[in-house]
C-alpha cells in the first residue's frame, strides 16, 4: 500500500517537473507570447533603458501590456527631452498583401502615437510613416522573424 502511494507520488513529481520544464523551454526558445515577439534580439534604444520599438500580433494593432510599458518609458524620455521630435515607423510582416500591409503599418504607428499622446506628448512632436512589409528587420521567412517585423519603431528626428 505505502509503496504504491510512494510510487504514485514519485511519478507525480516526475510528471510535474516534465511539464514545467517543457513550459519554460517553449517560452525561452520562441521569444513569442501568443503571437507577439517578446525578445530583445532586434531592439535598439532611444536612451539607456528606453527601447525604441513595440511588437504586434498578426493583423492586429492593439498594444500589449509590455508594449504599453515600453511606450510609457518613451513618453517619460520625451517629457525630459522637450526639444526632441520623433517619427514612428509602422511595419507589417510579409504574410499579407502589400496594400493592406501599408494600411496596417499606418494603424500600428498611430496606435503607438496615440498612446504617447495620452501620456502628455504633443502630437506635433510625433509624425508617423508606414512602410508596410517593405522594410523587414529580419528577412528570414519564419514565425520568429515575422513577429520581429510586426512592429512600430520610434525614431529620433532631430
Amino acid at each position: 500500500m505505502t509503496l504504491n502511494t510512494n510510487l504514485k507520488n514519485i511519478l507525480l513529481v516526475i510528471f510535474t517537473t516534465l511539464i514545467l520544464s517543457a513550459c519554460s523551454t517553449a517560452k525561452k526558445s520562441g521569444d513569442i507570447e501568443g503571437d507577439v515577439y517578446t525578445g530583445k534580439e532586434t531592439v535598439e534604444f532611444l536612451a539607456a533603458g528606453v527601447p525604441d520599438r513595440v511588437f504586434f500580433a498578426t493583423n492586429k494593432s492593439s498594444l500589449t501590456t509590455a508594449s504599453r510599458a515600453t511606450l510609457r518609458k518613451q513618453a517619460t524620455y520625451l517629457r525630459k527631452n522637450k526639444n526632441l521630435s520623433v517619427t514612428i515607423e509602422g511595419h507589417a510582416d510579409e504574410r499579407g498583401t502589400r496594400e493592406y500591409n501599408l494600411a496596417l503599418g499606418e494603424r500600428r504607428a498611430n496606435a503607438a502615437r496615440d498612446y504617447l499622446m495620452t501620456y502628455g506628448i504633443s502630437g506635433k512632436r510625433i509624425s508617423v510613416i508606414s512602410y508596410g512589409k517593405e522594410k523587414p528587420v529580419n528577412p528570414k521567412s519564419s514565425p520568429l522573424s515575422w513577429s520581429q517585423n510586426r512592429r512600430s519603431v520610434t525614431v529620433k528626428v532631430n
Binding site: N59, S61, E94, R95, G96, T97, R98, E99, Y100, L102, A103, L104, E106, R107, A109, N110, A111, R113, D114, V128, I129, S130, Y131, E134, K135, P136, V137, N138, P139, K140, S141
Partner: protein, 445 residues
C-alpha cells in the same frame, strides 16, 4: 516616349469571316492546342538596309515571335519549321493545302515584307487548311524599328480571327523591378513588352516605388512613391516622363487605380491611422470621399462600366472583399469562404473579380463572379498576390515570392501568368526580380 506609335493600316485585303472551319475551344484551356504552321515571312530582295537591323533575318525573326506568342497562350501548338513543305514566297501566294495538311497543320500563316525609303511594309495571310481558303489578310506600313510590334499585331489579328476574342500581344506590362538583399531592396519602375523584351526603367531606384497601374485608355500610369519619404500616389506620363503627385493629402495615399474611363484615380488615404477610399478627378482635381468607416478600406477597383467599386476591408474583423456603388452607397460583403481575401480586381469583361486569398498559410490567386459566388482558385503557392488582367480578360499576371532562409537567402520575386481556366501557368521572363505587375490595354487599338 517615342513618336513611332502611328500605324497605318493601308489595305485590308480580304476579311472573309464566313464559313471558316477552324475553331478553338477557349473555354477548356490547353487540352488540345491547335496545330499551326507559321511560315517565315518572305523578305523582298529589293529591301534596303536600315540602321543595324538584320533585314535578311527579319522574316524569320517575326515568325518566331508570332510562334512564341501562340505557344505562350497554351491554345496553339506551333509546328516545327523543318517539316515545312513550301518556300515562304510561294506559300504566301497560294499554299498547296494538301501538303500542309500532311504535316498535321490546321492553320497556316504566311507573309512577306519589304523595307524601302525607311519604311517597313508587311503583309500576312492566315489560311484555313482544311477548308483550303484564306481566312484573313492584312497589310500595313510602319517604321522598321517597330518590327517586334509588327509581329505582335499580326499575332493579335490571327488570335482574334481564330478565337473570336481580342488578342493581347501588342501590349506592355509595367512592374516594379527589384534588386538587392531582401531587407534592403532597391525598387524601380520598369516597363516591358508582354513577351519580356524592350525593358526600360522609369525611375532610378533612389526611392521606394510600389504598385504601378496603367490607365486603361492611354499610356499614363499611377503608382505610389516614397519620394522625400512622403508616401504618396503619383501620376506618370510614360511618353514624356513628367510626373506629379495626385491631390494634396496631408498623409499617406496608396493603392491607386484608374477609373475605366481613365479620368479619375481611386485610392486609399490614411488619416489618423484609418484608411478610407477616395477618388480624384484628374481634370477638375475634385476629391471625393467614397468610403467612411473606422476599419481599413483599401485596394479599390472599379467595374468596367464605372458603376461599382470592389475593395477590401477588415470591418468584419479580417480582410474580406466588398462591393459598393461608385458613390459609396449600398456596401455589400461578397466573400464568405474560409480564409481572408484581398486585392479584388474587376475583369475588363465585367463578369469576374480576381483576388488573392490567404488560407492555412498558403496564398491563392482566384476568380469569382461579381456577387462572390462561383469562386475558383487557380493557383496555390507559398506567397503570391496582386493579379492584373490581360486587356481581353483571359489571362492574369501576378507576382510570386519564395520562402527566404537565414539572412534572406533564397528569396526571389517573379512575375507569373495563368489562364482563367486555371491552365497554362508560366513564368514571365524579366531582367531582374519583379513584383506588382500591371497589364496595359492594346497599344494599336
Amino acid at each position: 516616349m517615342k513618336k513611332f506609335f502611328y500605324f497605318i493600316f493601308i489595305n485590308i485585303l480580304l476579311l472573309n469571316s464566313s464559313n471558316a472551319l477552324i475553331e478553338i475551344d477557349i473555354t477548356r484551356g490547353n487540352l488540345d492546342p491547335l496545330p499551326i504552321a507559321v511560315s517565315p515571312l518572305h523578305v523582298d530582295i529589293k529591301s534596303e538596309k536600315f540602321k543595324d537591323l538584320k533585314v535578311k533575318n527579319l522574316g524569320e525573326d517575326i515568325s518566331k515571335i508570332i510562334e512564341q506568342n501562340f505557344r505562350n497562350t497554351g491554345l496553339f501548338n506551333p509546328l516545327k519549321k523543318d517539316a515545312f513543305v513550301q518556300k515562304p514566297d510561294i506559300a504566301h501566294l497560294k499554299p498547296r493545302f494538301e501538303d500542309w495538311r500532311l504535316i498535321k497543320a490546321q492553320a497556316l500563316v504566311t507573309g512577306k515584307l519589304l523595307i524601302k525609303d525607311e519604311k517597313l511594309k508587311v503583309e500576312f495571310r492566315l489560311w484555313d487548311l482544311a477548308a483550303a481558303q484564306e481566312m484573313t489578310a492584312l497589310a500595313f506600313t510602319t517604321t522598321p524599328s517597330n518590327w517586334r510590334r509588327v509581329a505582335h499585331i499580326i499575332s493579335d489579328k490571327i488570335y482574334e480571327r481564330l478565337t473570336g476574342e481580342e488578342g493581347y500581344f501588342d501590349t506592355r506590362i509595367i512592374y516594379v523591378a527589384e534588386s538587392g538583399p531582401k531587407n534592403q531592396r532597391i525598387k524601380k519602375l520598369a516597363i516591358m513588352d508582354q513577351d519580356g523584351f524592350n525593358t526600360k526603367y522609369l525611375t532610378l531606384g533612389n526611392e521606394l516605388v510600389l504598385t504601378p497601374r496603367f490607365n486603361p485608355t492611354n499610356q499614363m500610369v499611377t503608382y505610389m512613391s516614397y519620394f522625400r519619404n512622403m508616401p504618396r500616389v503619383y501620376l506618370l506620363d510614360i511618353e514624356t516622363g513628367t510626373q506629379e503627385v495626385v491631390g494634396n493629402f496631408p498623409g499617406m495615399t496608396f493603392a491607386p487605380r484608374f477609373s475605366p474611363d481613365g479620368k479619375k484615380i481611386i485610392m486609399s488615404f490614411a488619416k489618423d491611422g484609418n484608411s478610407d477610399i477616395y477618388t480624384m478627378d484628374l481634370e477638375s482635381r475634385i476629391v471625393e470621399r467614397i468610403s467612411d468607416h473606422s476599419s481599413i478600406d483599401t485596394s479599390p477597383s472599379f467595374s468596367p462600366d464605372g458603376k461599382f467599386i470592389a475593395f477590401n476591408s477588415d470591418r468584419s474583423g479580417l480582410q474580406q472583399i466588398y462591393v459598393m456603388r461608385s458613390d459609396g452607397s449600398n456596401v455589400k460583403r461578397i466573400t464568405f469562404g474560409k480564409g481572408i481575401y484581398g486585392t479584388p480586381v474587376w475583369s475588363p469583361r465585367g463578369d469576374l473579380i480576381a483576388f488573392t486569398k490567404m488560407h492555412k498559410g498558403k496564398f491563392f490567386i482566384g476568380v469569382m463572379r461579381t456577387d462572390g459566388t462561383g469562386e475558383r482558385l487557380l493557383t496555390e503557392n507559398y506567397y503570391q498576390e496582386a493579379p492584373s488582367w490581360s486587356p481581353n480578360g483571359r489571362v492574369l499576371v501576378f507576382y510570386r515570392e519564395t520562402k527566404a532562409g537565414e539572412k534572406g537567402k533564397g528569396f526571389s520575386a517573379k512575375l507569373w501568368s495563368i489562364d482563367i481556366t486555371g491552365y497554362n501557368e508560366r513564368r514571365l521572363s524579366t531582367k531582374t526580380d519583379a513584383s506588382d505587375p500591371s497589364w496595359s490595354s492594346l497599344l494599336s487599338k
